[in-house]
Amino acid sequence: MRCIAIATLLLLSLSLKAGDADLTPKIPPGYKPDGANDEKGMWLELEEYERAIQRSPLLVKDPYINAYVRDVTCRVTGEYCADLRIYVIRNPYFNASMTANGIVQVWTGLLLRVSSEDELAAVLGHELAHYTQLHTMDRLRRTTKAATSGSIFDMGLLVLTGVSVPVGQLTALASLMAYSRGDESEADLLGAKFMADAGYDPHAAADLWKKIVDEDANAVAKGTEPGLFSKTHPSSADRIVELNRFVDENFPEATADPANKQSHLDMLNAYYLMLMEDQIDTNRFGRTEVLLDRHRQMGVQEELVHFFHGEMYRQRDEAGDMEFAIKAYTLAAQGDNPVPDAYRNLGYIYLKQDNLPQAQYNFRQYLELEPDADDRAMIEFYLNED
């Protein structure tokens, strides 16, 4: 009862704050810190961090993906776009960020999770709001106070290499710290306003939050950890309610342009193999299942979706999963756009089931569709068995 009372009070206070929020950007386009202050020093550190991003092998250089993300970013950020440098990072987790000096990072895991340009714009509008309200600078200041030795990011490298490379420690730590609830609320509402001003449907912001909540719920049920964006941007049902109320009151006429769904679908279909292979590698089967169901509803090429359903079932390997995998691979192999790897993986499943004739039939189909397969020698090894 006490928890309900506290939650009610919190909700009321948030509603009041949302109603009173001043949604005027605190910095104009072209903003740069002046004078000798800590802000200028932090911008200098961020420049070093940006050079590390530019050197990163995980930077996606594909012109199509970069142009797509840049177009959406510039549309939603308007005149601020000239102050931003946009980097697409190959990382299967859901995240986007904008630093105080205008470094925008969009992870490929975000592209895999949004259903339209509008939803991508929702995340970018939200991050722009953190930027224009100087939340990013406030967070960096808090991190400076809290910083201790070591870097979370360097830990990853330490695990494999045994050697720590300190690059952008402070900025890396800051990116893992959550914004305050008040800052998040302000960014939600101002972000929705940026979207509407750019002609995007601001309802997409709440839709996306609901998807994040659903994905997290499914992952928790499978015993996996929450994603990075969820850690730094705590999501909750009341946040969705607040956003919906704000949008309904201020932008009642806003509707989604179907072309914004199609453009995102075109990008996903073109890069689906790369994006989903990274997701499969995370072994987060609960999340993967949610994503695949969503992609099927969105209209992603069905053979590709079937193939990754097969991958998920085969690698999860719980009771009955192999039969599900066989069904999914068969659909992927026999559709109008057959996925060659589906035949290969069917072959391996039948091999494991000691069904050599079926295995060899599928291996032959694989090599017929993919004569230059890089694993041809391995497949021929099994074709020569009797």
């Binding site: 990163s56 995980l58 070591g150 290499t161 045994g162 720590s164 391996y348 694993d375 391995m378």
Partner: protein, 194 residues
């Protein structure tokens, strides 16, 4: 716990308590895995191994960031290729009935999972059969990109014997270092046997 380990590791490295040792050319036996080298290698001290299993070892010529051969012998059914640290994503476990494609996947996925939030991207290719002595196994190539680090290329050899998995991974930074030691590393991997 991770931070504590890091501080301890850093302190030991800085204080010079740990040292590399040399392994002379010839045949060495690591937990039943016999490997033969034509030249001397440096054996990394255990503390530099990070998440390596207790019976795993690393050799290097120019330093672990630039090149390394990782020996992971005798992984039993249900065990992981690397040590699982508290709070980290669970690493995939080896199953004794795994086929070549699954062994390729467990190596790839284990490396990816060591970096909890996608700080590494690993792609494997050219899966091919190879006999390690009398035991049929596989070889495959690897491309690895690490956030804040260089690109790496790699070659992995793996086989299952007596229900246990034996893995040897060579990684070299690109450009230059991978090619510098590739021939010797490949000869060590191809020549491994029980």
């Amino acid at each position: 716990m991770v931070r504590k380990s890091f501080v301890l590791t850093a302190a030991m490295l800085l204080s010079g308590c740990v040292a590399y040792s040399a392994v002379a050319p010839g045949t060495i036996d690591y937990s039943g895995l016999k490997v033969t080298s034509a030249q001397a290698w440096n054996v990394a001290p255990g503390v530099a191994g990070g998440a390596l299993r207790k019976d795993s070892l690393q050799w290097t010529q120019d330093g672990l960031l630039l090149d390394r051969i990782v020996f992971i012998p005798a992984v039993a059914d249900g065990e992981t290729l690397f040590r699982v640290s508290s709070g980290a994503d669970a690493l995939p476990s080896f199953q004794a009935d795994m086929l070549p494609n699954e062994i390729e996947e467990i190596v790839e996925s284990s490396i990816v999972k060591l970096f909890a939030q996608g700080e590494v991207s690993v792609d494997t290719q050219n899966l091919r059969p190879h006999k390690f002595g009398e035991t049929q196994g596989v070889l495959f190539d690897m491309q690895m990109a690490v956030s804040d680090g260089p690109d790496y290329s790699g070659i992995t050899g793996a086989f299952v014997n007596g229900g246990k998995l034996y893995v040897i991974i060579y990684l070299g930074a690109q450009p230059y270092y991978f090619d510098k030691h590739k021939d010797e590393a490949l000869a060590i991997i191809r020549g491994a046997r029980l």
